[in-house]
């Protein structure tokens, strides 16, 4: 149990990300790639994700404004988006991406729109949670890794 109150709060926030299903095991993989030489790796990847995926979200939004829907294109965009989301361990976002793709495959336009709305909500929620988490992490300062084997 963390003695430092900030670290304790950080640990609680981190646990809640998992408990609420926002992130999965892949997030742990990212954490394991963080070390003294790359102390902000997780935040860097997540930041890069939000920057990169904003482009895809915009593409999908624009594609959904063109009727009839080009399901093949929509599916291709979502394939990309799902891949990135999966790589950072964004569990709920990834799940919603899968649903969207299923709607594309069955030509379900209504389903696509609903799923996309839900996806954007999850995406925004997670961004807020990550924002708070990394801000606190920066306050907490670098973890002492003297005891960690290299």
């Amino acid at each position: 149990m963390e003695r430092n109150p900030i670290r304790r709060q950080l640990a609680i926030m981190r646990q809640s990300l998992f408990d609420q299903g926002h992130v999965d095991e892949q997030f742990v993989q990212l954490e394991e790639l963080q070390d003294d030489a790359n102390p902000n790796f997780v935040e860097e990847v997540v930041t890069l994700y939000y920057r990169d995926s904003a482009r895809i979200i915009l593409n999908i939004e624009q594609a959904l404004e063109r009727k009839p829907f080009d399901f093949r294109k929509l599916d291709a965009y979502m394939h990309q988006f799902k891949g990135s989301s999966s790589s950072i361990g964004a569990k709920k976002v990834k799940a919603e991406s899968t649903l969207f793709r299923e709607c594309c495959k069955s030509g379900n336009g209504e389903g696509c729109m609903r799923s996309f709305q839900q996806l954007k909500k999850e995406y925004a929620t997670l961004r807020k949670k990550f924002g708070a988490y990394f801000q606190l992490a920066r306050q907490a300062g670098p973890v002492e890794t003297a005891s960690r084997p290299k």
Binding site: Q26, Q29, D52, H79, G83, S84, S86, S87, I88, G89
Partner: protein, 189 residues
Amino acid sequence: MGNMATQTRFHVLAVDDSLIDRKLIERLLKTSSYQVTAVDSGSKALEFLGLNGENEDEERNSSVESVSAADEDHQVGVNLIITDYCMPGMTGYDLLRKIKQSSSFKDIPVVIMSSENIPSRINRCLEDGAEEFFLKPVKLSDVNKLRPHLMKGITTKNEMQSNTNKRKGSEEIQSPDRTRPRYNELEVV
């Protein structure tokens, strides 16, 4: 052989059109102490290797190819290629085929990554020469599987070196397979 492994770091060429996945694979590989070059397409990968992909006819360019193949110092020095399957333009599979068709680079181990678990796709890649097929997201445990393929490359290089030396020494070196048919022909006569 031991010297080579400790003095020179293995150089991995990573190919992926996704910015996130490039960052990830780069970190995974660097964590394992590999030198990494990451590119965003199959054509950039071929460009990096010095294969511009248009020269399918190896014969026509044999003078150029044989110089780069024989002179190891001038080769770009890639020990393994790890590539995403789904990429616009040239897929990872197309890249695999081009590598395996190249006389200079066919012995470089190629590993394919994909977010989709499609058995027919996996089998096709493995049958056409891929050493491994990793499902994305790629983990550290996957990257740990690369080492034996890289170590094999050192042995092959050493063997190739000694074969080259033998060839220089004598014209008569034939593989055992070549001598067998000749023997059979004699018997028939």
